[in-house]
Structure formats: structure tokens, C-alpha cells
Symmetry: C2
Subunit: 92 residues, 2 copies
DNA sequence: CCGCTGTGCTACGATTTTCGTAGCAGAGCG
DNA sequence: CGCTCTGCTACGAAAATCGTAGCACAGCGG
């Protein structure tokens, strides 16, 4: 179950989620994620790049690979569940 | 994005996955997950119980709630992606 | 009553991960 | 040369996790 090793780390899923559109820079991505420390973000990005789901953009910025976009789609049901769950936990 | 807070912690997703069938005891669950330290497992179980996705069984053991089972279903696409990905990363 | 076994779970020092802040090297531009 | 952006590193402090040991309780056989 290597996926839990890749995606079970802090910020990993969040990074993929925040890369769902655009090609944010390192700093912009960091801000979108809620300002994790740059060292961790860099480590995650390195892991995700090595896993082939994230890639750098010529001239700066990051984006999902084709594989990454498939992973993002696989995260959609989880997100749908999360929204229903959030409403149930703290309605309003 | 509270779901990343709940499921972005180590072992959280794994615990849910390993509860997909049966009602394993604390120790059995721990073994299935690959022996995380009991303190972390207990913390995760407490968080998941508070979130309402895991519950204890009368007479011992743990299982998913109805909500937990829905969450498990939301994890299936992620798992399907993971299997394809694992084959691509290390074929054979 | 005693011991054996299994249950959930706690304690605690060691290790690993993450945090938070500061700053570096390089590129582009005036 | 200086300003601003880029990705990224350094480093001490804090938090999370590890690994091992063991506690309290319950059931059951003798």
C-alpha cells in the first residue's frame, strides 16, 4: 500500500488539490495550502515529482501531470464526502 | 478543508481501509496496519470515533459506522488509481 | 481463589517530522 | 548596480511518531 506512504504524509493531498487549476508558483502554492513550512512543501513536491504526479513548468510554477490529473479525479469522491461531513459536523 | 486534517495524518486512511471488513480487535487492527505504535493508533481511533466514522463493538473490536462505510467508498477510486500507479512505478 | 489469556489502552524516552523564520543563488529588468 | 521575482536551503524549536513495556479489566478453567 505505497499510496498511503505517498498520500498519508502531511500536505500531500492538499498540494494535489490546490494544483487543480492554474500553475501557481512555489510561494503561491504555499499560500493556497495554508503556509506549510517551505522545507516540507519542497519535500512533498520532490516526492510528488518523483512519483510522476506533479511537474515544474518552464519559466516557473507547478502543475499536475496527466497522471496527477487522474489522481485528482480519484480524490473527487473523497472531497464530496468531506463536504457532506463538514456540514454534519458544524452545520452553518 | 478539515478532511485533510483528519485524513492527512499518518495511518488515518490506512485504518479506515483495514476496517473494510470484519471487526478486528485493537491488536489485530494494529497488525493489519503494519504495527504503528499503539499510542498513535489509539489517537487515530479516538479522532475517527469523534468524527463519527469508526465505532467500537460491544464485546471488543472496531468497525466502520455507516458514515465510515461511505467514506470507504469514497476512497475506492483513490485505491484504484494507486494500484495502477504501483504497477507503473514497479512493474512485476 | 488462582492463574492464564485476551481485551483496550497508557507511559516514556528516543527518533523523526514538521514548524517558523531567515536568507541564499539565480534570472529578468531598469 | 539595485530591485523584484523565482525556487529553494538552513537551523533551532516544537510536535508527531516510534518502540517497548506494562497496566487494569474481563472471562474462563482448575
Amino acid at each position: 500500500m505505497a499510496v498511503f506512504d505517498l498520500l498519508g504524509r502531511r500536505w500531500a493531498q492538499r498540494v494535489i488539490w490546490e494544483l487543480r487549476e492554474g500553475q501557481p508558483t512555489f510561494r503561491a502554492l504555499r499560500e493556497r495550502c495554508g503556509n506549510p513550512s517551505p522545507s516540507v512543501l519542497n519535500t512533498r513536491l520532490a516526492e510528488l515529482r518523483e512519483a510522476g504526479v506533479v511537474e515544474t513548468v518552464e519559466g516557473g510554477g507547478y502543475r499536475l501531470t496527466e497522471d496527477g490529473r487522474r489522481l485528482l479525479e480519484a480524490l473527487l469522491p473523497l472531497h464530496a464526502w468531506a463536504e457532506r461531513w463538514a456540514k454534519r459536523v458544524s452545520p452553518g
